[in-house]
């Protein structure tokens, strides 16, 4: 019942001299929405919620601020987070919706991982700071793109879009590797 859920079992899905793409076991994910004085929720979650879109924190849970009243919360287990937040609902009404099963996570890493991102994402990849995350488009599909290191990204994508995006990542990883740079 608490087994991690993924439509893509963990595996290496592409590996070239340019980049490696793999699916990883997802964490428990929640979409958190709230506004006003956030202290009760911060106490419940055990982290200070970042206020600037794109900022992340990592503590008891990992949180990315995706919008002015929106956070993505990653946790090891669902029940403690849901329980703690439910306890402060009366004090601070909010929406905490589990979306663990909604999407899969790809990790894209390697010397040219950042360039691989440019084949599908119109944002300036160089301007994305390490340790930041944002909702953006990749090949037309909505994704959450995390930059975990200069050469490592995490991409959360809805289940049904994942094969399409994975195909482009695979083609791109081969294309970059074939370039004589």
């Amino acid at each position: 019942m608490n087994a991690p859920l993924s439509a893509f079992p963990p595996a290496t899905l592409a590996e070239t001299s340019a980049a490696k793409v793999s699916s990883v076991l997802p964490k428990v994910r929640f979409s958190l929405r709230a506004r006003g004085e956030l202290i009760p929720l911060e106490q419940a979650l055990g982290v200070a919620l970042p206020r600037k879109i794109g900022e992340t924190v990592k503590g008891a849970v990992e949180v990315a601020c995706l919008g002015p009243d929106e956070w993505l919360v990653l946790a090891a287990e669902a029940a403690p987070v849901a329980g703690a937040c439910a306890e402060v609902y009366a004090a601070l009404p909010h929406s905490l919706v589990e979306i663990s099963a909604r999407e899969v996570t790809f990790v894209i890493e390697g010397t040219r991982a950042a360039e691989l991102m440019t084949i599908g994402c119109a944002r300036d990849i160089d301007a994305l700071k390490v340790g930041s995350a944002r909702r953006t488009l990749f090949d037309g599909a909505t994704v959450t793109l995390w930059r975990d290191a200069e050469d490592r990204f995490r991409m959360d994508v809805w289940n049904s879009f994942a094969p399409h995006l994975l195909h482009l990542l695979q083609v791109g990883a081969r294309e970059l590797a074939a370039e004589s740079v």
């Binding site: 019942m1 929405r33 905490l96 944002r123 289940n159 879009f161 294309e175």
Partner: protein, 909 residues
């Protein structure tokens, strides 16, 4: 430009039916037939001849190339690129600008459409830049740029300049290679977003317009110079140079120095710079000033040119000069294409008889020859200056550098209309547009026939409409049209430059989006099971859904009939995962639901669900779905498959703009859940043993209930709903568990002969019950009342989206089209979309009063059934309407929309 390599196969265009007998060469005898506008005047009638006879002939004769019938075997790619400064054109101006920007520490991209960077420097090796020979300087400079981090891209054409400094580049990667490397696309489209752009595209040489200027061997002087200096090809041993610009004199000198015997330099001007005359004297080249050209001779190659002196506007007698090439130059047109894409304004320069760039709304500067400068030193220093401008615009500073160039070739020239002749101008074949075979007299004819704007002249003659988009012909054409009209060029106008700058392959635009990657195909977690069980699929929005599950020997009709019967007889299983789902949470959730949907929600208890109808503010139906109240502050909303994203957007729109005060939030959960529907008299029997947490009885879990429980050991949201009129359940489990759930139900259902059904059976079963499909039985003009669903409108609610719209006079008027059932008198199945009339005997065109929206064969009803929108239909029960078809007119009786079990007795467990 196609680079050549050993083994490359090329074929010639413009050679119908063969290179040696071009039908266009009918000119020699019958050319007076083919005047401007000839195609329009002659080939317009009869209309039916256009597609099959005239157009193919014209296209073949025009040499427009052959469209391949095979699928493109190549692959194409695309990337995004961000930079501080994009420089278009890697000639001297572009390189100088790049140097300045790179030294300021900016991220610089320098692109050039040619195989090598260098632009004009490649054709002018004699120049000495800051003491270094041009090619040495170029090599050192490019190395320095690369070392400074500048991305230098060759074989890369900037094809279009779009809003906010988005520039499209097409990079050609493999066309020049005899062997294709693996995993390498043929072309790559770059979408560049540059903070500043420097346009340094240079200038394009114009031909001179005179009779016989299309003969093989007549070519641009600059081309001859490039052939010689860059590729080592001497285009003629005995060339004549014909020019109105200084630049062609240097071409003559270079060819002469390479061993050609230049027969003459003929200049249209009466006097030229003494330095040029000295250069000619020194090489023993005869000089003829104040000349016009009036003819050329030679069949497959030019053998002589006829030159005449011009003085006081009078053309003297001609003199034939033997030659094997004519190198012409009508001066240079600044390349303003990309500048014009920016909506940049142009200003006419009377001295230079050309348009020059004026203002652009983009963060863009234009440098060098593309803004009318001439000479390497001038354009180098201008490039550096423009580089400093963009560096300053980006808040940085750069030092000044003045380039000094020895052996430079600055110069000037004049621009002409067609050259004067002593023969009949009306019979001259003086080409302006070589690709579209437009001559000077065609342009004058267009003016005589009433064309006043250059836009009309262009369309009438097709001048500038070939693949070069007027690069060679625009200014010459304008000069001639302006002369014919007796007006200045700017008042006649310049046609608009539109992207792409050069013809660009469809593949480059498509990029990765072809074949299986053409568009995302969304599949559910149960899709693979359906595939393994022989399902036929249909696309629904981006999703592919199982349409029906044919067994051996079954066609669609047989499969659907079996699926329908099996579901009503025992139990059917259906993948409903694609339904849109939205979690609505917050203290104001119920208030939000009251405002969005037509229905009232306040009294809906947690654990119960209700069918919801969503209107636009115009009062017309937009979407529908069953909505469960999972808790006091929590709703599980379902939408139609195609409506999921649209409905969420509409809700967010209202929430953020109209009701920001509401404490409620929306989360898309469409893909959080896999949804499996079980319908049929044995549905509860099948499901009950698998469910923990609720008893599936009429008392504990009545129709329109919902609960969080466990199904087959999986956490689930269970709904008791029916879209078939049978006992029905929808089981939602976390998406990746979908197939496991499906297989558990399939296994447990074997004792009930469980049958998998697809969307077609779902459509039939719901139609038998009169349940609408939004978008099929509604079309954006149907209100809840029109659909016979006034019961879903909460009349006591103070407001909801669409309430005001529904009160509009035309929405409450009598005689609106209303949804009814139709049963044909002859028992035939109607065609969906067929129009309906009241009186089949009325005169044609008949008054149409509605149309058939849904039509199926129904085993449960024992006959075909249909739903239709009919004017005033609710008040016409029992009346007969008529459906005229091509072969006959079908009579049908208006009935209720419910064809099966109107008492809903079958819903009971």
């Amino acid at each position: 430009m196609q680079e050549i390599w050993g083994g490359l196969e090329t074929t010639s265009q413009n050679k119908f039916p063969s290179l040696k007998f071009d039908i266009g060469a009918v000119n020699d005898g019958a050319y007076m037939l083919f005047s401007a506008g000839f195609y329009y005047k002659t080939f317009m009638w009869p209309r039916s001849f256009w597609d099959k006879v005239y157009e193919p002939f014209i296209r073949a004769a025009a040499g427009l190339g052959v469209s391949p019938t095979e699928e493109d075997p190549d692959s194409y790619a695309s990337r995004n690129l961000h930079c501080d400064v994009l420089i278009v054109g890697a000639g001297p101006s572009g390189i100088a600008a790049a140097r300045v920007a790179a030294e300021a520490g900016l991220k610089v991209v320098l692109v050039d459409e040619n195989a090598e960077a260098g632009g004009t420097l490649l054709s002018e090796p004699q120049a000495q830049i800051d003491g270094a020979a041009a090619w040495d300087w170029l090599a050192a400079e490019l190395a320095a740029l690369k070392a400074a981090g500048v991305k230098v891209m060759t074989r890369t054409t900037a094809i279009g300049y779009y809003h906010q400094n988005l520039i499209g580049l097409c990079e050609r990667l493999t066309d020049h290679l005899p062997n294709l490397p693996a995993d390498t696309p043929r072309e790559r489209l770059w979408r560049v977003r540059a903070k500043q752009v420097v346009l340094a595209q240079g200038a394009l040489e114009k031909p001179l317009v005179f009779h016989g200027n299309d003969r093989p061997g007549v070519m641009l002087a600059g081309s001859a110079q490039t052939y010689l200096n860059r590729y080592g090809v001497l285009v003629g041993q005995r060339p004549v140079v014909l020019t109105s610009h200084d630049s062609a004199w240097y071409a003559a000198f270079d060819l002469s120095d390479a061993g050609a015997k230049v027969q003459a330099i003929a200049d249209t001007r009466g006097s030229v710079n003494e330095e040029l005359l000295a250069g000619a004297r020194q090489r023993g080249i005869p000089v003829k000033l104040g000349r016009t050209a009036t003819a050329t001779k030679g069949r497959l190659r030019v053998s002589s040119i006829r030159l005449n002196p011009v003085s006081g506007g009078k053309v003297g007698s001609g003199e034939d000069i033997a030659c094997d090439a004519v190198l012409m130059s009508g001066g240079w047109t600044p390349s303003l294409h990309l500048f014009s894409h920016t909506k940049g304004t142009l200003a006419w320069d009377d001295d230079r008889t050309t348009f020059l760039p004026e203002r652009t709304p983009e963060d863009c500067v234009i440098a060098g020859a593309s803004r009318g400068l001439w000479g390497i030193e001038a354009v180098l220093n201008d490039g550096a200056e423009k580089g400093r401008e963009v560096v300053a615009a980006l808040g940085k500073s750069a030092g000044a550098h003045a380039y000094g160039v020895a052996q430079d070739r600055p110069g000037t020239g004049v621009s002409h209309k067609e050259l004067p002749t002593d023969r009949s101008a009306g019979k001259a074949k003086a080409f302006v547009d070589y690709q579209n075979d437009v001559t000077a007299k065609d342009l004058r004819l267009a003016v005589r026939e009433g064309m006043r704007s250059i836009e009309h002249v262009k369309r009438y003659t097709t001048n500038g409409m070939a693949t070069d988009q007027g690069k060679m012909s625009n200014i010459n054409g304008l000069n001639i049209a302006a002369d014919a009209l007796g007006r200045k060029q700017p008042s006649v106008g310049l046609t608009t430059f539109r992207p792409p700058y050069t013809p660009t392959s469809f593949g480059a635009f498509a990029g990765y989006h072809r074949g299986g990657h053409f568009e995302v195909t969304r599949k559910t977690q149960i899709d693979l099971w359906a595939e393994e069980h022989g399902a036929v699929f249909e696309p629904v929005g981006q999703w592919r859904r199982a349409w029906y599950f044919p067994q051996a020997g079954e066609d669609m009709e047989a499969a659907v009939s079996r699926e329908c019967k099996a579901t009503r007889a025992s139990v059917g299983i259906f993948d409903a995962s694609t339904l849109g789902k939205i979690e609505v949470v917050g203290p104001d959730a119920v208030e939000f639901m009251n405002r969005m949907y037509t229905n009232p929600w306040t009294k809906l208890a947690p654990g119960r669900c209700r069918y919801g109808l969503l209107c636009g503010d115009d009062g017309f139906i937009r979407d529908d779905g069953v909505i469960g109240r999972m808790g006091q502050d929590k709703f599980h909303v379902t939408t139609t498959t195609g409506g999921a994203a649209r409905v969420l957007n509409m809700m967010e729109d209202y929430l953020q703009t109209e009701w920001p005060d509401l404490n409620v939030w929306l989360t898309s959960t469409t893909e959080q859940w896999s949804t499996v529907a079980l319908n049929g008299p044995n549905a509860a029997k099948l499901l009950a043993p698998l469910v923990e947490g609720v008893e599936l009885t009429e008392e504990a879990f009545p129709h329109m209930s919902c609960v969080e429980c466990s199904v087959a050991g999986m956490p689930a949201r269970l709904f008791r709903v029916s879209f078939t009129g049978e006992i029905g359940f929808e089981v939602n489990v976390p998406a990746p568990m979908g197939r496991k759930l499906w297989e558990a139900l399939w296994e447990a259902g074997q004792e009930f002969n469980i049958t998998a059904y697809g969307t077609e059976t779902m459509h039939v079963l719901r139609a038998e019950k009169g349940y609408i499909i939004v978008g099929q039985d509604t079309d954006g003009t149907v209100t809840p009342y029109d659909a016979g669903m006034g019961w879903s409108v909460g009349k006591a609610k103070p407001d909801f989206v669409g309430k005001r719209g529904l009160a509009r006079p035309d929405l409450v008027a009598e005689g609106r089209k209303q949804l009814v059932g139709l049963l044909t008198e002859d028992g035939s199945k109607l065609e969906e979309g067929a129009q309906i009339v009241f009186d089949p005997k009325q005169a044609i065109p008949m008054t149409m009063v509605g149309h058939v929206t849904s039509s199926y064969h129904s085993d449960a009803a024992g006959r075909p059934i249909a739903l239709a929108l009919v004017q005033g239909g609710h008040g016409r029960m029992g009346e007969t309407v008529h459906i005229p078809m091509p072969d006959r007119t079908i009579a049908a009786k208006i009935t209720s929309t419910i064809f099966v079990d109107p008492e809903n007795a079958r819903l009971k467990i």
